[in-house]
Symmetry: C2
């Protein structure tokens, strides 16, 4: 099976994100998929992405993982609901509650659940776990870029 | 004048953060300082830290800048208030509202303002601007690591 990640279906012009863009050669190339009614993204962080203490991820990276996966989940939710191609979602608001340190060098699982879809807005609930232990949870308000957006 | 950044006063054991640790050779080495009653951190992002569109920062990086500067602000606020050395603050909760795209290759200014200090908890209000334009705002709840913390 060669299921395409959500991020690998973005138009080229939207695929440069350091977190999840397939065209960003320096980036992390996060990949998100459906898992039933939820979405999932798995990622193992290099030890260089340490927090203050070695062996644990810095907070900004945890926010990054939840942000990119949240945007991808919103994209997928919209595409499935309206049966037409979504453009790309950007973050209007992100809230992260940190529950436990997240280790580097261990596969992390970020899960998304659709809370609300309303016009161009999608609200996604998110968790980040390591080996089944909850490390962070939160939610993101994502907004779709209008189809005929003019670049300024 | 050779004012020491807050992060350059952390104990070695807490100085490995990818965002702001002086001992993380791969990291961004963010530096935060007092500016009157507020704190400030200036950073120019390499274009590789792009969002979906080239030329603008990915959301996770914006959260990272606010998170590291928030933790440093909490540390400095605590140290100044109690007149004793603070250990290190970790993030309990981070909220970011994204107001406008933040450019890469332009000096960004992250500012912190102390909202509340209560025991080990410090709440910091944060903004991120580029050339005077507000790009993001939010707040962080930071919690100090106990002094005699045992590593497990």
């Amino acid at each position: 099976m060669t299921e395409l990640a959500f991020q690998d279906q973005y138009a080229d012009e939207y695929a440069h994100c350091y977190g999840c863009g397939r065209l960003n050669e320096d980036g992390m190339k996060l990949k998100s998929y459906w898992d039933g009614e939820e979405t999932v993204c798995r990622f193992t962080a290099d030890p260089k992405f340490s927090g203050g203490y070695p062996g644990f991820l810095y907070g900004g990276m945890i926010a990054s993982l939840m942000d990119c996966h949240g945007a991808a989940t919103a994209w997928a939710a919209k595409a499935r609901t309206v049966q037409q191609e979504a453009t790309r979602f950007v973050t209007a608001s992100l809230k992260v509650d940190f529950r436990a340190p997240a280790p580097t060098n261990v596969e992390l699982e970020v899960r998304g659940k659709i809370n609300e879809i309303k016009g161009r807005k999608v609200v996604v609930d998110l968790t980040l776990s390591a080996a089944g232990k909850l490390c962070a949870e939160g939610s993101a308000v994502m907004v779709e870029i209008p189809i005929n957006r003019q670049e300024g």
